[in-house]
Symmetry: C2
Subunit: 261 residues, 2 copies
């Protein structure tokens, strides 16, 4: 079971869109995928059709009340894709977790239990952690629990800002808690491919982080922005769209699969 944190403390860069649609694309290649929402905004959960206002138990209970992940995991409308949802209750979690012993590895523990026992007979191949735009205790839990990080970045002027801060936190987590954590790659998101600005930002990212940028770029596509309002991944909402093609290409690249064009 590989745990991938989708992480960038900058707001609105494409974390949720990537966590959900890369997850869905991996499921489309036959894998069993869990989208685990660690953001009190609950966008990832809403995106896959969960009614976050009607949740009896959520990630808040898992992290503060010793509820096992299997108690909150549910299927989505897409074959092979499950969700462990969050809602605004989770914003209370950091305050409660702050004085707990081993407060940074609570999520790690819960994921290890899931890896061992499975969920109703399902053993997940991939768990994608949809992180909040912050570097607080929830995000540290995500980094401490992850095997790898994928960093979505907008192809706009301020894109690289804050990345050194993220790298700093990753370095500390790797040193003190989770030595196997590695940055798997950077995904260019919301790319307006016709503009010179996007290409300049791409060059900029490549020069700062050679070999980290995925070949697959996620272009600006309104279908990706519409899908969450129907509680669907892009593969249910519009499987022929550029958005679906791009996330499928990203998943193939991640898996090392050659896609015929």
């Amino acid at each position: 079971m590989k745990v991938i944190a989708i992480s960038n403390q900058k707001g609105g860069v494409g974390k949720t869109t990537t966590a959900v649609n890369l997850g869905a694309a991996l499921a489309g290649f036959g894998h069993r995928v869990l989208v685990l929402d660690v953001d009190p905004q609950g966008n990832g959960s809403t995106h896959v059709g969960v009614d976050i206002y009607g949740l009896e138990k959520s990630m808040y209970d898992v992290l503060t009340d010793d509820v096992p992940l299997t108690a909150i995991i549910r299927p989505t409308g897409l074959e092979g894709l499950h969700c462990a949802p969050s809602n605004i209750d989770l914003s209370g979690a950091e305050v409660e977790m702050v004085s707990a012993v081993g407060r940074e590895t609570i999520l790690k523990e819960k994921l290890e239990e899931l890896q061992e026992k499975g969920h109703e007979g399902v053993f997940f191949d991939y768990v994608l952690l949809d992180c909040a735009p912050s570097l607080g205790l929830l995000s540290v839990n995500a980094l401490a629990a992850a095997d790898e990080i994928i960093v979505p970045m907008q192809t706009e002027f301020f894109a690289l800002q804050g990345i050194s801060k993220l790298m700093e936190v990753v370095g500390i987590v790797r040193k003190r808690i989770n030595p196997r954590l590695e940055i798997r790659g950077i995904v260019a998101c919301r790319m307006d491919t016709r503009t010179r600005l996007a290409l300049e930002v791409i060059e900029d990212i490549q020069s700062h982080f050679p070999n980290l940028l995925f070949e697959a770029r996620i272009r600006q596509n309104v279908k990706l922005a519409e899908a969450p309002s129907f509680g669907q991944t892009i593969f249910e909402y519009d499987p022929e769209s550029n958005g679906a093609q791009d996330y499928r290409a990203l998943a193939a690249e991640y898996l090392g699969i050659q896609l015929e064009d």
Copy 2:
């Protein structure tokens, strides 16, 4: 001197782009405008050409070391537009301010001093506060110091999320610290006018907040994203662009001026 907080705790919705370009448009109508950066990301400062890595003194010193605003204010490339810059040092400010007496009204005090004494003979008509994507002590200082708030919102599915939280904080600030604070309006930003999603979100905003949505909508325009990389407002970078037209229309609406088309 009217103080306007450009505020929304959601990341990447257009606060900085609005603080800088609405400010520039108001300067274009003959007013003296100060863009005051209260975001440790320092994007507003960079946007108007400030080298935030070379700053000797910044908002950090103003808020934690009793430095007057006039000591850090500088002109920008645009006539009538000044800047009070920030950089990453400001992220240390909240921790230092937390134990100060009257910690929520430090900025208010500094702005009152500026209103009284001016800056090198200049008395500002408008001060636009570029807020960080959070509801922490810095943002509370901004709300406590402001006469009004303008809320930029993306015209996308999750746009309204978090607004009730913002309104809650505004209510508390109004009750306990700043009774004159009012929400002047909501600006639809980064609008992709060809899509039905944008129009649905607009209707949604109008039904939740009748009479708060400005008529002027800021359309998606790559020129607005390019301008900051040159350290310029849209009016210096591309005064004929849609971005410039939209911010000019917003300023005119704000001022109650009729623009001939």
